[in-house]
């Protein structure tokens, strides 16, 4: 039977028991959101003793299913005030699943707010250990020192931003080479972990692959899914994700006029090429050394979209430069120097903050005149303030919305106080519906309509036309909630959307593991149920339809080059929840 760890930080006790039966067939986001719905008072303070933090590997995580090493982290978000699930790909998740754990729950709060702890998880047990010596340590040093101390283990930790309970703090996991680089970044979950006095979790490496209940069904599904991933132009070996990483999107969105530039003032960035995946791949090839494309965030990913970006001397600068970070710390700040962008990502990874929220907060700060757009060195200086915990650092570290309010800025690109990612809603109308209506706050991964709107995956729609986008956003949000529960990387959906047998394969792997009989038609219904719970939690936390609205400036400021405002009507936005 799968196990469930409950850590009570108030009395510093740990309980390892059998997973409650209601959660036994759940995983990932389905599990974290059900748990938060059931056990967390929606009106609680996110940083107080009544919030709970839950880590859950996906349903098929730890098996031989491809690209399935994801972990979901859930809590009430201190950034949005609503429910949050943020997931990451890391060997940590596979180890946890392979040791037989369905979830780790962190609840309560230590009396002495200064003390820090570490949770050590082995196959049979889990214990809390004092960790005051890690106070103030960056994520790089924390992961490295814990890797030395607890060999053959995987690590999860927070950086100084999480300890200081800043709402852009994320939760860091190691990659296969023990870089502090894989993040459940969004929504301030690192601050929740910090509020519990938990600096890190160390999980003994899980040995064997999980054996599915029905091996034949699982194997058949796995084969179909792998075949789909190998045959799709986007996900195949040597395909664009593998060769250029997600940053190949920089030039695409720039050509579509939808690359938010200089704090969402324009949709085209003249320096796009220099921060693009194509340029990055060239620099990596030229500099050699530690640099590589086609890196995997966890063993068993067949897509391998990650990378290691080298310094001019070939040494490891950062992993990884992905589209969101190249945009948020590049185009969004008017910065076209990839080495400066890499340095900023490295700072974010070390301080323990979300690169999207950080970049957008810096964009808002530049709007306020704290630095000039395009001045990468000034941006690096501002970012360092967050790690120092100076008063300015605390303002920036609490996100784009907070920064905007502190400096009287009107152009603040947030929904539910969470920063918008790298797609301009005024140029791509459907993704705006997802940003605005998802219970998570502005989040592209929650319903990635970019696939049919821009990329020609799953159809080809006019990005500027709002018609019909509501249904698509809702359907994508539902499918995503299911995929996030499985533990699959969202990027498998590029293949599953276009190749029906790959979708069957995905569902069959789940059936093989759980002994269920889901069909591809059930996916949307399963996903909608998760969305309903999340929405209900938010309503009980005080959210209304007024929180499902775009930032007002997008209604009246036309975005060049298409010169559109955000013109999806309010009624259409509300209609997303009419199911």
């Amino acid at each position: 039977m799968a196990k469930f760890i409950r850590v009570n930080m108030t009395d510093l006790t740990v309980d390892v028991s059998t997973v409650p039966s209601e959660y036994s067939k759940m995983g990932g986001r389905g599990l974290t959101s059900h748990f938060i719905f059931n056990e967390v008072n929606p009106e609680c303070h996110p940083l107080g003793p009544n919030n709970k933090l839950i880590f859950a590997p996906g349903i098929v995580t730890g098996t031989a299913a491809p690209s399935s090493g994801r972990i979901s982290v859930g809590a009430k978000s201190p950034l949005t005030g609503g429910i949050k699930e943020s997931n990451s790909g890391t060997p940590f998740s596979q180890s946890l699943a392979r040791l037989g754990y369905k979830a780790i729950v962190i609840e309560g709060q230590p009396e002495n707010k200064k003390d820090l702890y570490l949770l050590k998880v082995t196959e049979d047990d889990a214990e809390l250990i004092g960790a005051n010596e890690l106070e103030g340590k960056g994520a790089y040093e924390t992961v490295t020192s814990l890797n030395e101390q607890y060999q053959d283990s995987d690590v999860c930790c927070i950086g100084p931003a999480g300890e200081k309970k800043m709402t852009m703090a994320g939760i860091c996991f190691n990659d296969p080479e023990y870089r502090a680089s894989r993040y459940s970044g969004r929504g301030g979950l690192g601050a929740v972990m910090g509020s519990k006095g938990l600096k890190a979790i160390v999980v003994e490496k899980g040995g064997c692959l999980i054996a599915p209940l029905d091996e034949d069904v699982f194997r058949a599904g796995q084969r179909k899914l792998v075949e789909g991933l190998r045959n799709h132009g986007v996900t195949q070996p040597g395909g664009t994700l593998n060769a250029f990483g997600t940053a190949a999107l920089i030039n695409v969105l720039n050509q579509a006029g939808g690359l938010p530039t200089r704090n969402f003032r324009e949709g085209v960035f003249e320096g796009a090429e220099k921060i693009s995946g194509e340029h990055m791949a060239e620099v990596i090839k030229e500099r050699g050394g530690a640099g590589m494309t086609g890196h995997a965030c966890h063993p068993g990913c067949v897509i391998q979209c990650s990378n290691v970006y080298p310094r001019p001397d070939g040494s490891d600068h950062v992993s990884c430069i992905e589209y969101e970070s190249a945009w948020s710390l590049g185009a969004n700040l008017g910065v076209d120097n990839l080495d400066q962008v890499a340095e900023m990502i490295r700072i974010c990874n070390d301080v323990g903050i979300d690169t999207i929220e950080a970049g957008v907060a810096l964009g808002v700060a530049m709007e306020a005149g704290l630095a000039e757009f395009g001045d990468g060195e000034a941006a690096i200086k501002l970012l360092k303030e967050i790690g120092k915990g100076s008063p300015l650092g605390h303002i920036l570290g609490n996100g784009a919305g907070f920064t905007g309010r502190a400096f009287g800025v009107v152009r603040i690109p947030v929904v539910k106080n969470q920063a918008m990612p790298a797609y301009e809603p005024r140029a791509v109308k459907g993704i705006g519906i997802t940003y605005i209506t998802t219970p998570m706050g502005a989040d592209h991964t929650a319903g990635y309509t970019i696939a049919p709107e821009i990329l020609g995956v799953g159809g080809q729609l006019d990005p500027l036309d709002p018609k019909g986008k509501m249904e698509i956003s809702r359907a994508f949000q539902a499918v995503t909630a299911f995929v996030d529960s499985c533990g699959y990387c969202l990027f498998i959906t590029f293949a599953t959307t276009d190749i029906p047998s790959a979708t069957e394969g995905m569902v069959e792997t789940v059936n093989g593991v759980l002994g269920t009989e889901y069909t591809p038609d059930d996916i949307v219904e399963e996903g909608l149920e998760i969305l309903r719970l999340e929405k209900t939690f938010n309503e009980r936390a005080g959210f209304t339809h007024k929180d499902d609205r775009p930032p007002e400036f997008m209604r009246y400021e036309k975005l060049p080059p298409h010169n559109h405002v955000y013109d999806v009507p309010d009624e259409e936005l509300d209609e997303v929840w009419n199911f």
Binding site: G233, V234, T235, L249, N251, Q255, Y323, L455, G456, P463
Partner: protein, 82 residues
């Protein structure tokens, strides 16, 4: 004749007329009026199945789009990300 500006991206850069090393640079092409994008792939030696997205002046166009003087054309293979 009309003149158009072309940029190639990702794997399509190997079809740059001046060679792969110049892949990131845009170039100008002079073509008969009413030439389609599909004919331009042909001129450049790009197999049509390798092109997934065509942007002309920041708008999506299909391969049968007929180019006009001054069009800025961007050609991409299948790309995705997040």
């Amino acid at each position: 004749m009309v003149r158009v500006e072309i940029s190639l991206f990702a794997t399509l850069r190997s079809y740059h007329p001046q060679g792969r090393d110049r892949g990131s640079e845009g170039f100008t092409l002079k073509v008969e009026s009413a030439t389609t994008l599909a004919q331009i792939y042909d001129t450049l030696g790009i197999p049509p199945e390798e092109v997934k997205m065509n942007f002309v002046n920041n708008r999506h166009q299909s391969p049968d789009y007929q180019v006009q003087e001054g069009d800025k054309i961007a050609l991409f293979p299948p790309i995705a990300g997040g």
